[in-house]
Amino acid sequence: MNELTTASQTVGPFVSISFAPSLAGDLTVQGVSGKRVVLHGRVIDGDGAPVGHAAIETWQANAHGKYAHPEDFQEKPLEREFRGFGRVMADERGAYRLVTIEPGCTPGPGGVLQAPHLVVVIFMRGLLKHLTTRVYFPDDTHNAEDPVLKLVPEERRATLIARRVATDANELEWNIVVQGKDETVFFEY
């Protein structure tokens, strides 16, 4: 007989008092190799209005495609300084910004490679349980064969791929639309 799992509850409007002191908005710490990227965008609700003060957490592999976790058994280099966890808050205009490194490919089901991506979870007032999604990188040749992207209806895949901002090669824009037109794809597992 399994125990009943504890219900999720909203973070409410004041989550920043807890998360703000422990933000992790820049993963490019000394000792971590890889291509630096600045990921930014907005969180948007069903009215097209910005969602202020949403909390966004990200989880990713390093540039070699290795996770800083005991269940990653791959024989790949892992920098001692690399954690792979990001935590940022959207401001009152719904804008967030994360500085990180582009992860490498990681193993997927049946030995198929997964394209570089970040797992993203989103918390906000009005959300009774967090949303889980992924963000992929534009023009990456591995995207076409990614086993998770392939399960997403083709017309919605673009919601999971960040856009290059012309002015700066390292800058990527990715909006999180929780409802409505161009709604971001969210996953269940």
Binding site: N2, E3, L4, T5, T6, A7, Q9, T10, G12, P13, F14, V15, S16, I17, S18, F19, S22, D45, G46, A49, V51, W59, Q60, A61, Y67, A68, H69, P70, E71, R83, F85, T106, P107, G108, G110, Q114, V119, M124, G126, L127, L128, K129, H130, T132, R134, P147, V148, L151, V152, P153, R156, V178, Q179, G180, E183, T184, F186, F187, E188, Y189
Partner: protein, 234 residues
């Protein structure tokens, strides 16, 4: 190649839906497109690992983070983080945040006309031990009004954030107090379909861990998704 050791789904009826119109903010924030069911991969069964060196000695004691003690009824909140198979979730980060005894958060957007307490921030963090146990010392939070519906009051509660062993175990929840008449009127509480799952959010009076001449204890166990019996075969 190692197959990943996947997580079971949460118990049926234990989790709220995204859309619950009595909680008005869900109406424009619940996705309307169906969620896409995808396989669990190394990316989701892993997640951040936190170390003891990241926790300051008084992070678990919300009554000793300022010059003087905060006003209000001091209490101990303790319990275990387990998976649904009853296995302890050891060394995982537990974060809490709450209002002060008057029902006011130390947050610029909290406009409730109740006093702030200069001796109370309302945030704590700790790691579970090898048996999945955690313990906080704090003060009992107050009820406060919100504008969801006419004469709406949130029952006193403490927000809990738990990481688990992988991102698939990530959970944010709220702990309530036994015998609270506000619960039946609270959409956060009533959004959960299963009555037993609602009850799981209510802490219990914990006489065993109540400290004489110091503070009453409440017990609140948190159950995360457990592992499938064997690693997934592909």
């Amino acid at each position: 190649m190692h197959d990943v050791h996947s997580y079971r789904k949460p118990s049926p009826g234990s989790q709220p839906d995204y859309l619950y119109p009595p909680y008005k903010s869900t109406v424009k924030r619940a996705p309307v497109q169906p969620l896409v069911l995808v396989p669990q991969t190394l990316s989701e069964i892993t997640g951040p690992v936190f170390g003891r060196n990241e926790i300051a000695p008084l992070d678990h004691d919300l009554t000793r983070q300022h010059q003087s003690a905060p006003l209000g009824e001091r209490m101990i909140v303790n319990g275990r983080v387990l998976d649904d198979g009853g296995c302890p979730v050891a060394n995982t980060l537990v974060e809490i945040w709450q209002s002060n005894a008057a029902g006011r958060y130390r947050h610029a957007d909290d406009n409730h006309d109740a006093p702030l307490d200069p001796n109370f921030t309302g945030c704590g963090r700790t790691l579970t031990d090898d048996a999945g146990r955690y313990r906080f010392v704090t003060i009992k939070p107050g009820a406060y009004p919100w504008r969801n519906h006419h004469n709406a009051w949130r029952p006193p509660h403490i927000h809990f954030s738990v990481f688990g062993c992988g991102f698939l175990q990530r959970l944010v929840t709220q702990m309530y107090f036994p015998g609270d008449p506000l619960l039946a009127l609270d959409p956060m509480y009533t959004c959960i379909a299963d009555e037993r799952a609602r009850q799981r959010l209510i802490s219990s009076f914990d006489w065993e861990n109540t400290v004489p001449e110091f503070a009453i204890a409440y017990r609140f166990d948190i159950v995360l998704r457990g592992r499938d019996a064997t690693p997934m075969e592909k």
